[in-house]
Symmetry: C2
């Protein structure tokens, strides 16, 4: 085995855990924090609750909420300017993947200067970032755990993957209560994003014993708990999805991802498609493409999806992928790319752009743009 690296934030997990946010900030030396969130969290009342918790412990704050569903470079630069002008000392982000990635971008520029595209791809952040505390409101993005930050370069129409150990927040406060205010379709798309993190990182070229177990745990939990979580909205099942998202985050942060995410970033850059919509469409097709290079692992995944059954490894792998497609359909989400992409004229460009994404480096099977086009057409 080659050298494996494994880094995660300090995690505080549990119902009502958000109440610890001010004490965590104080522990990191905060006096005046930058809070990053968005309108959805404001409407659900969580932003105000966060302010109350900060005020109770005597912390000052500046608020930033200019966050698109695919966070943009100029928003990052504006946020960093506010952080510096207002002399903030800690960044607190509350929300789904978008506010969390925005906060990472802001912290990167606040600590390192320059422009966010200076840090595209892996290991280009050289100076320390301000301390970061993240409170995720979805069980899926994994941004609260990971070394990844995805920001759209508006001029090039590219979602840049910025990857650095420095992007792991200091503390992640995971409070499943935040999921109770989310609509079912967001619970589903977030969980499928987490499932995609788990499956892509499990078969990644960088997978290690430290990431593989966590990926398998995440797959098992999501396959078991997503349907009852959506149907019953019970705290127990939602909590399990939070746990699964955390496991998946630990896995992909350290083993990276593959072609599904490379294509999802490319699609999001060109067409501003919400990230969560892409996975149920592309994951089965990419798994079929990758299968020859990782049959044993695909069979292990198939065994989890299908449950106990006696089949050849080949059959377990192939039938598992088919069953995963049925699993996605059962939630009523789009499973054909034609349902979300405007037309097929941009597909070649999208596939050529995806080849540049850092996630392609760890896809288990090599691919050129025509291979990716084949995947997209299979999913069309």
């Amino acid at each position: 085995m080659d050298t494996s690296k494994f880094a995660i934030p300090e995690i505080i997990f549990g119902h009502g855990a958000i109440k610890h946010v001010a004490q965590c900030a104080l522990r990191l030396g905060a006096r005046r924090v930058l809070v990053v969130s968005d309108h959805g969290l404001e409407r659900a009342g969580w932003v105000e609750k966060l302010f109350d918790i900060l005020a109770y412990d005597g912390l000052e704050w500046v608020y930033f909420n200019d966050v698109s569903q695919n966070p943009r470079d100029y928003q990052v630069h504006n946020g960093a300017e506010i952080y510096l002008e207002e002399k903030a000392d800690v960044v607190i982000a509350l929300g789904g993947g978008s506010p969390l990635d925005m906060a990472k971008g802001i912290a990167t520029i606040a600590g390192n200067g320059g422009r966010i595209d200076d840090y595209e791809r892996a290991n280009r952040i050289m100076r320390p970032l301000p301390p970061m505390i993240f409170v995720p409101s979805t069980a899926g993005s994994g941004s609260d755990i990971s070394q990844f930050c995805i920001i759209t370069d508006m001029q090039r129409q590219v979602k840049m993957s910025i990857i650095s150990r420095s992007l792991v927040p200091n503390i992640s406060i995971i409070d499943p209560d935040l999921l109770l205010t989310k609509p079912p379709e967001l619970v589903v798309s977030s969980a499928i994003d987490a499932l995609s993190h788990a499956i892509e990182s499990y078969v990644s070229k960088l997978a290690s014993p430290f990431t593989e177990n966590q990926a398998l745990n995440a797959i098992k939990i999501i396959i078991t708990h997503l349907e009852p979580a959506v149907e019953t909205r019970s705290v127990h099942h939602l909590e399990q999805l939070s746990i699964a998202s955390t496991w998946a985050g630990m896995s992909f942060s350290n083993a990276s991802l593959g072609a599904v995410h490379a294509l999802a970033h490319s699609l999001g850059g060109v067409s501003d498609i919400p990230h969560g919509l892409v996975h149920p469409i592309l994951l089965p097709a990419v798994m079929r493409y990758n299968m020859p290079e990782c049959l044993e692992k695909m069979a292990t995944i198939g065994n989890i999806i299908l449950g106990p059954c006696i089949r050849s490894r080949q059959d377990l792998a192939a039938m598992g992928i088919d069953q995963l497609g049925e699993f996605f359909k059962s939630f009523g989400v789009p499973v054909h790319m034609r349902e979300i992409a405007p037309d097929d004229s941009k597909l070649e460009h999208i596939c050529r752009m995806a080849l540049q994404d850092a996630c392609m480096l760890t896809n288990p099977r090599d691919a050129d743009w025509k291979d990716l086009l084949g995947i997209c057409l299979e999913a069309w």
Copy 2:
């Protein structure tokens, strides 16, 4: 579920990973490091190898090797004085649990002043420690992962448990090559220490979904790989033991331990018995005592130890514990307390002292000193 906290160091794992130690130190701002190790590692050539790596990257160092098998309070104070006098800026520890715990003690005093017994029990370290990088040479102590530091108070004859998030090193470099120079009996006692960490933390009152999976992974790996590791000395099996020790460390660092460790600390304080000798003797007896409070979990452990079989949960639990005793015997280690303890006249004192140990707080079944005495007599 109550709030769970989970913190681990950054981990760099793999054959030859020790070569990264200087770069890691530089990343943490080092110019002149304090190296803590012991005579065993010197004889095996690892200390010199470490110096070569530091020298190659232009780092200066000061060396400290006054480390007993149960590290002592005055040694900690001497080491901290050297750290401060020599103006060191990072602590690097290389060795088994003893040099690692010594390094934690030195860093605590260097960063916080006072005496080491000021920090006994949980959460009493209030100021930051110097950065720490640990290179474990055994697969067992878990000190390279954990929030625990065990130091002997020589006057009171007590092994103090000092527990703080601040005691998690910044970076742990786990290089299974270091195990190749260890005698088989040390491989066995270290692995059984790790197994004890895994089992005690799995049934701990503080166990959470984040620690339970890791504990079970560790138990499975040790049961599977310890015998072939000792017989073949193959790198593959030794690497598996390193992975298991790391999982067990993640689990017990965050879920804490129980009566086996409370008694082991008390025995070590009174009689300077090596820590690793205590577990094969006490673990089965403590598991039998705890069984009524955690039957389901003991059955899950039993299922791993026994392999696939159809039994009641009660039988799985009880037969698993019996089989664990046989497993220990097969390695020729002492399994009766009379083989390591000088006489039984100190047992009452040892049990009364163990009740004061922080590990008793998370033992799944409450116990008074007479209960602990019953356990010791069962294991006598």
